[in-house]
Symmetry: C2
Subunit: 198 residues, 2 copies
């Protein structure tokens, strides 16, 4: 029971991920009641501007406003290692550790037959192209430890077998700082399987 | 570790209520990866357009694109009753019951000395103005049953005592469909105090 303009605003916010009807209402009223016109205009122009400027890096397929992106273009990065991830947010998470110095490859998804997402729907061919020049020594498969992420890792590892490249998978186990008693069964099984001598 | 453009986009979404850094990231990537440019432009223009068009109803102070708003301007509404609420979302919640046929008055907040919100910061004077012509027979105080909402209701009821108008407060008690065993103490006390013969 709002005027059409308010309803339209609420509907726009409801389209965003993780925003239900109540949150969309709250955001709409915040915009109308608490934000200045300038702030709203600024937000709108940042949205449109980002959408215009951001594209995929020609090399790693990460989101960037310059291509090649700052990581692929950096002389300081180890170009012999490629870490394959599902999305740009994974690149961010790994970069935040400041421990990895290689390159990335962003798949933009994972194989999911149930959703009709096959090898041509994610950036697998672009990865193979990068390996063809022979400079890469290791590909780390850092897709998520979900059904789809694991299937994607297995699929890519098979595709890479003809190449002279080491293919590794990030380790799965009990997260640091958590309790074994609260870990799920599969994680405990993986952690036991991957045990190492100390 | 994103390009400046992406960081700026994430920061904009973080400004919205209920959106933390992770959610803002998720929304930003959704916008960049899953939305078409047209959809982003549409969302941006709806935001700017709503902010331009929406103002406060000269009568009830609710958000509207026409003033007086559709409720105040309706010949079918009972103009002798005014329901006082804190925000536009309360009007929406009450309208959705389809049981109330009077008018509203939106305060845009509640008295909160701790936040420095006094009587002049919310739309109390506008309410008194509406009562001065003598057509109103009842004012229903439907502010929230919080400390601030209750204080606001008490404050307004005192201001209204010189007027020849019935002042009522919505009832508080056990919500329909819920269990007494899960109700908080204050709610149970209120429900006991407000008991009625059946």
């Amino acid at each position: 029971m709002y005027s059409g303009v308010i309803n339209e605003l609420i509907e726009q916010f409801e389209r965003l991920p993780g925003i239900g009807h109540k949150s969309a209402e709250r955001i709409a009223f915040y915009l109308l009641e608490n934000m200045h016109s300038d702030e709203v205009s600024k937000m709108a122009s940042v949205m449109v501007g980002a959408k215009e400027k951001i594209r995929l890096c020609e090399c790693c397929q990460n989101l960037t406003d310059v291509s090649p992106c700052s990581i692929c273009g950096s002389a300081k990065r180890d170009k012999s290692t490629i870490c394959v991830v599902e999305g740009p947010e994974d690149v961010s998470a790994i970069e935040n550790t400041h421990e990895y110095n290689g390159l990335y490859h962003v798949l933009h998804g994972a194989l999911s037959p149930i959703d009709g997402i096959g090898p041509d729907d994610i950036k697998i061919n672009e990865l193979l192209l990068r390996l063809s020049d022979g400079d890469v020594g290791e590909v780390i498969l850092a897709t998520n430890p979900t059904v789809n992420g694991t299937a994607t890792a297995v699929y890519i590892s098979k595709l890479l077998s003809p190449f002279d490249v080491k293919v590794t998978r990030i380790a799965h186990g009990i997260p640091i700082g958590s309790d074994i008693e609260y870990a799920d069964k599969i994680t405990i099984i993986k952690a036991m399987e991957s045990r190492r001598e100390i």
